[in-house]
Symmetry: C2
Subunit: 359 residues, 2 copies
């Protein structure tokens, strides 16, 4: 890594493409003047917008691409149409080639993950990548993964996610030993969560310098902030994430309806508007925008497709932090002595060259 | 069913036992004077409380039991200690014997489900029971199942849950063809949800008089009230439920903190307190208290263990409605022409005696 942080942007990704991505990139640049951008997309459109953003223009290099991965392309379609030629592929490819330290895209998740997997491959010893997000909690934020990279997870994959999520949490929260919980349901003796139980055994028995295993957590522990890192497989993780988003909207909606029902309440609202502003800010999904792809040989960040410039800037911020504080080498170090499922008392499992074959 | 609705109560269940169950039963009795209770529990304690509730006493018959299933008993422990002799078992047994039309317990979920399964058995053609709850939405309420009876679900079990959930929704919402959605994640071409896809095919291809299949829904559709019935397997369903509860609490907590931070906001709060009361009422978990066990040869309702009398009364109300509007025969009718997975174009699958063997 050079002293600058070089970020490749899929300028054409997301619902609004360059109109959001470029202003967002500038906001992040103001916060982190050591960013250098490589902008992949329609050169004419990019130049047009950069003309109004001289500061961003000065920190950017443009690479023209013709093909845009559409928001509704299936991963296989995206790969067929966009491999080697799309702005999304090229942004990821810049990371592989060492021309950039990370790639950020607001394009469609399935396509981005497929291209990232095909192009960057998974890290030595890791079967499958995961998507981690920052989840606002009563105590601050937690890292939650997997929120939708793949469905189902072996015990070892859950353990690997614990190690990777903890590496990310060490950076984001600046703590040495983040607490890690495995998401489970509070019904005893129910069949079918053997993977979760086996992962728990491995995590409990092995002491790992990079994390403090807490135990099982339930759905309501996520928002409570019981642990720094919540680990689950991608189906339930995605459903938890979307359900929480829906519930937050629903409560805000109830509140609005209740206030609009009476004149006194409206007056009260005006007096309390500072409090409501604080609430809105706390619930602002833009602040925690940015899914981090973990387990690949490169840093890739997925921004929400429908976000605005402020939201896209948050995704760039996360990418910046992951590069600046060396996510990849932290994960690699963590994997070097990851707890191993079924190893009895956990022991260090060095990553060998042989294991790279499996990626 | 007699002209009264006979409800068996596990008086000893829940965090507070008779102190909550009996006052709760009286609240429900006032709303439904045609309820007759059979009270299972410690006769001396029950009599003591009934002395202060003459109305409830007049509508109740007491059956003394010595054993109480504890809130932290594992299902196997509960069965070992409580089979035939506990208040929980006896309440369920009253349903099996035809002495009651339904059983309500605030005892521990795992034990209650295990006893209900062992004692009542699953209905003809149904492999596994499910737990359905009423979920408050922006448009009113929806039925969501399974929220934790079992983990994982075959395509046919998902279809059966659609049929059962729709039968319940017809009663609760008084509509002929409730809309049904299958919970899924919005990532295309991801491996591992074959069951969900196959269930979708069966539901789409078969026309079923009792439900209107809507398609896939995501986590945020639950709170939005996109469909009347949301179907998923028990792990993700339980996590969605707990996550939503946690998020609602979290938002309320933010709001409280924001209001307490300024004097003006506090004044505003006082003026808008009607609105806040409405919000609290809307979010009141007691109102939607009562998990319905579906797929058994009998109606069993699980009340939240930590609820108060008002909350327990809601659970009794649900049980009352399920009996009064004939949940079981509606499910049986629905199962008679349930869509069959893998049958190509869905066709009616009559339930034969042979199938009862599998229960």
């Amino acid at each position: 890594m050079s002293s600058t942080v070089r970020i490749a942007l899929d300028v054409m990704g997301g619902d609004h493409g360059p109109d959001i991505v470029l202003p967002g990139a500038e906001i992040a640049l103001i916060r982190h003047p050591d960013i250098q951008y490589v902008l992949f997309g329609d050169e004419a459109r990019i130049r047009e917008i950069l003309a109004r953003h001289p500061r961003l223009a000065a920190a950017s290099r443009i690479v023209h691409t013709d093909v845009v991965v559409r928001m509704d392309d299936k991963p296989s379609q995206a790969l067929r149409r966009g491999r080697r030629v799309s702005s999304m592929w090229r942004a990821i490819d810049a990371v592989r080639l060492g021309d950039a330290d990370c790639a950020v895209s607001a394009g469609n998740t399935g396509a981005l993950m497929a291209m990232a997997k095909v192009n960057l491959k998974t890290m030595a010893g890791i079967d499958r990548p995961a998507i981690a997000c920052l989840w606002p909690t009563m105590r601050g934020e937690s890292v939650v993964l997997d929120v939708g990279a793949s469905i189902g997870a072996s015990a070892q994959h859950l353990v690997d996610m614990a190690v990777m999520g903890a590496a990310m949490a060490r950076i984001v929260f600046d703590i040495e030993q983040p607490t890690v919980g495995l998401l489970n349901i509070g019904v005893e003796e129910i069949k079918g969560v053997e993977e979760v139980k086996d992962a728990a055994t491995a995590l409990r028995e092995a002491s790992h310098p990079g994390l403090a295993y807490h135990g099982f957590v339930e759905g309501d522990d996520i928002g409570r902030g019981t642990v720094d890192v919540v680990v689950t497989e991608g189906f339930s993780g995605n459903i938890a994430l979307k359900t929480a988003e829906g519930t937050a909207k629903q409560v805000a909606d109830y509140l609005r309806a209740a206030i609009n029902r009476s004149f006194m309440a409206k007056i009260g609202y005006v007096l309390a508007r500072g409090a409501f502003r604080a609430l809105r800010e706390k619930l602002d999904p833009r602040k925690s925008n940015g899914g981090v792809f973990l387990g690949l040989n490169g840093v890739v960040i997925k921004s929400h497709g429908g976000t605005d410039a402020e939201g896209f800037a948050s995704a760039v911020d996360i990418g910046y932090d992951m590069v600046r504080y060396q996510l990849l080498s932290r994960i690699a170090a963590g994997m070097n002595n990851r707890p191993q499922v079924g190893a009895g008392v956990g022991r260090a499992v060095p990553v060998t060259d042989e294991m790279q074959v499996s990626s």
